[in-house]
């Protein structure tokens, strides 16, 4: 297989990452997959470890996430979602399913809707590349403390106690700061219309 051994250490732009997924969809491009894997798999693993998975489970699920990208690449629409958002959604869903399987075993099989995958996302994922950039701008406007709160709220299963610990504040104070930070985030996001 012809995968370049070393990835030149340039920050990939959103458009480049999207193009890699499109290359997978249109011509089963293994080299594009290799580049996408090198960029996202370590980030997905990092996200899943923060989300409470063991390093081993996170590694497996990062693999599974990127394999899902390979299989579902045809459903990716770069005009609607950034590569990172689409991959985040896949990792999120796989981690929900993994936590369920850890609790209840493999008896339940999720129903697959192969055909419906992203036809339906037109409604929920009204995100263009530009809007993605503006989401990042909104995040940049948060204070450092608020950014920490948003990050922990996203990644921690029990964010309130984690936030209290990290910021060295009582739990009740953490709860009200979370409310303030998330309201501010939401107001900034709503400016994006």
């Amino acid at each position: 297989m012809s995968v370049q051994p070393a990835e030149p250490r340039v920050a990939a732009s959103g458009a480049e990452l999207s193009a890699l997924i499109v290359a997978i969809a249109t011509r089963a491009d293994r080299e594009a997959f290799g580049r996408l894997f090198r960029h996202f798999a370590p980030r997905v693993k990092s996200y899943l470890v923060r989300n409470g998975l063991s390093a081993n489970a996170a590694e497996e699920l990062a693999q599974e996430t990127l394999l899902t990208v390979w299989r579902k690449a045809a459903y990716f629409d770069p005009t609607r979602a950034a590569a990172s958002t689409w991959i985040f959604t896949i990792a999120r869903n796989l981690s929900i399913d993994l936590k369920r399987r850890e609790r209840y075993g493999d008896t339940y099989q999720a129903e697959a809707h192969e055909d419906e995958v992203d036809e339906t996302s037109g409604e929920t994922m009204l995100m263009t590349a530009e809007r993605e950039a503006r989401v990042r701008a909104a995040l940049a406007k948060l204070s450092e403390e608020q950014a920490t709160i948003v990050r922990l709220s996203f990644f921690q299963e029990k964010p309130h106690s984690q936030i209290a610990q990290e910021l060295g504040i009582p739990l009740g104070t953490a709860k009200s700061r979370v409310r303030l930070a998330l309201n501010r985030l939401r107001a900034l996001l709503e400016d994006l219309k």
Binding site: M1, V3, F33, G34, R38, A41, P42, R43, V44, K45, S46, Y47, N51, A58, E59, A62, Q63, T68, R71, K72, A81, A83, T85, F88, T89, I90, A91, R92, N93, I96, R100, Y104, A110, E111, A112, H113, E116, V117, T120, E123, T124, M125, M127, R131, E132, V135, R136, L139, V150, R151, S153, F154, F155, Q156, P159, V178, R179, N183, L185, E190
Partner: protein
């Protein structure tokens, strides 16, 4: 008073992050089916998730991780892919199957169960208090989730209960009031554990609603005894 009739920002964020438990997640799914505003917020929050993923400090995989992945590319998937399900659910796609209405549930003309609920098996509705019937919504993906379908007669109070975490109520038809305001079809109400509230159903018709909980729920008095086998 302006009562909130949508899920709170933190709830939508937990939904987007995938950390909301199965019961409340189902109620948010139901709400999203009918609320473009909250769907747009969830889409923005998913985008926030993407940005946070992008900003994650990379954590190195095993040296042979990519080779292993490449070797697996051409193998067909052994498992059906759940990623697809939740995506479709979140977007309100047509569910795969519909169960018949549970025994004891009559819907007023023109009212149907939300698709996310109609695809679930609901236990027989049994009377648990005067004017109050209750059935359990079965979540195959989380057998411990407590999602309850209530059918409550006009003018009746929703039974007193306490709960450890947040309580979520979604109105399917009819309406009820609590000290904060009035709620109607499509509304989703969040209640804190501290609040000891006893909402009252409108006088002009019965109310059919769903309830889900972040923590465990306990009903007081007689209802507690009657519902124990369910919960």
């Amino acid at each position: 008073m302006s009562a909130s009739t949508h899920p709170g920002t933190e709830t939508l964020l937990r939904y987007a992050a995938g950390t909301l438990p199965a019961g409340p997640r189902l109620l948010v799914d139901v709400h999203l089916e009918g609320c473009p505003e909250c769907r747009a917020t969830v889409a923005r929050l998913m985008s926030v998730g993407g940005a946070l993923l992008e900003a994650c400090e990379p954590l190195a995989l095993a040296p042979d991780a990519l080779d292993r992945a490449l070797a697996r590319l051409d193998r067909p998937s052994t498992r059906r892919n759940p990623a697809v399900l939740h995506h479709a659910e979140a977007a309100g796609a047509t569910p795969p199957k519909r169960w018949p209405l549970p025994e004891g549930l009559k819907l007023p003309p023109g009212v149907v169960l939300p698709p996310a609920i109609a695809s679930r098996r609901i236990g027989r509705l049994v009377p648990v208090a005067p004017g109050v019937r209750l059935g359990l919504v079965h979540l195959e993906e989380d057998p411990d989730a407590q999602v309850l379908l209530f059918r409550i007669a006009p003018g009746r109070a929703i039974p007193q209960h306490t709960h450890a975490g947040l309580e979520f109520t979604h109105v399917i038809c009819g309406g009820f009031s609590d000290p904060d305001g009035h709620y109607g079809p499509g509304d989703l109400v969040e209640c804190d554990a501290e609040v000891d509230h006893s909402p009252r159903v409108d006088d002009d018709g019965e109310c059919i609603c769903l309830a889900a909980f972040d923590g465990r729920i306990r009903f007081r008095g007689l209802l507690g005894m009657v519902t124990r086998p369910f919960l």
